[in-house]
Symmetry: C2
């Protein structure tokens, strides 16, 4: 894909979240996303809790459900970031006790260190939607504590409709009720491509699980550490 | 699954190969297996050649096509093993210049070291069909040279019909022409389960690729090294 086209998609992806913020917050809070209810929310929360992080960074936090859920079980100093100012406002309103910041993919690539370092857990829950994932992960790797882990949850290869190859797709949110959704471009990555991406970012895959419901895999859930530590 | 039932399946799996030896040798040699022709043969051969092994162990070699193909490109001291005496006889007849031995899963678990050590490549091309794969891999790990690699090719998660979970299935060879096929029990493993299996066997997954044809993934191809070296 030509560089400009890639940039256009990245921009449209980032822009879609501000436009969809209200709809998205309602979808998450009303439990309108079947796979989340069926097990992916529980899977990411359990993976994080098992690691008992004292400091957590939630990247692409959306309306902030994750830190609210994690904080029900453990004391955890958390920073939740998202590129959408509207979603960060929603998150802050829902629980002002936690720290939030409007911070986009581009900000992470330019200036991740301004978020602080020494995170025991850095979480991307369906939050790596842009093409250049290796650069994104390379940028956050230095923020990990020595025993820190990066948790990535993403689409399972069996859950994908259409040809199985890396590339941009469009989520039209047709499965969600209500008008006013803005289509969101997002980048699908094969399992092979995820492995390459992690390696290119200097990460080691420690765990790969496949949360299931009714004999169907809901997601891939990857736990990584830095190769350097 | 009860222990006896598992043993029965393992025994039926081992037995099916002697009964199917003639049909199998013909299927491989006449190119009757579409996924092999479409790319999985080429994928495993290229992965091996890229590692330039001086010594190679082909586990579950069948009628021996792999070493014949590898030997077209590199000089390589190879040992090819299979539990079926009939298939080993076929392999030896097809190219007597290489070394062969009748050696079953059970033999590997009991006495792998009698095969020698210092292998640069140990290959399981659709050859891990039994339930207790971790024990099998644990048994061969000490045979690796310091920079040695284990190559495993297996079914892709998107190519599986039916529910996605670990368990015994039956291959009825209905896709192959000709009478006289004996159904073969074989154990399917999810991607999560493969990761666990490799870790339990003290292996590190270095590479995972997905050979493709016509936008469809044909297989998972994993390259591993020992955690100890």
């Amino acid at each position: 894909m030509a560089r400009n086209c890639r940039k256009d998609r990245s921009k449209a992806l980032a822009g879609s979240w501000d436009k969809n913020a209200g709809n998205w917050a309602r979808a998450v809070r009303d439990g309108l996303i079947p796979s989340r209810r069926a097990g992916t929310d529980e899977a990411i929360v359990n993976a994080i809790l098992a690691h008992k992080p004292a400091r957590l960074l939630d990247v692409g936090c959306g309306e902030g459900w994750l830190i609210r859920r994690v904080a029900q079980s453990i004391d955890c100093q958390a920073l939740s970031i998202d590129g959408s100012a509207a979603l960060i406002a929603d998150a802050r309103q829902a629980d002002p006790r936690h720290a939030y910041r409007v911070f986009a993919y581009a900000d992470l690539i330019e200036d991740a260190k301004s978020l602080g370092t020494g995170f025991d857990a850095i979480v991307f829950n369906y939050a790596i939607l842009d093409e250049d994932a290796a650069r994104l992960l390379t940028s956050v790797e230095p923020l990990l504590a020595p025993e820190g882990r990066i948790f990535i949850q993403t689409l399972h290869p069996r859950a994908l409709d259409g040809p199985y190859r890396d590339g941009w797709r469009t989520e039209d949110f047709a499965a969600f009720a209500g008008p006013g959704w803005e289509p969101m471009p997002w980048y699908f990555r094969t399992v092979e491509s995820w492995h390459e991406t992690l390696r290119d970012a200097g990460l080691v895959l420690l765990d790969l699980t496949e949360p299931m419901a009714d004999g169907r895999p809901l997601s891939l859930l990857m736990t990584c550490k830095s190769l350097k530590r």
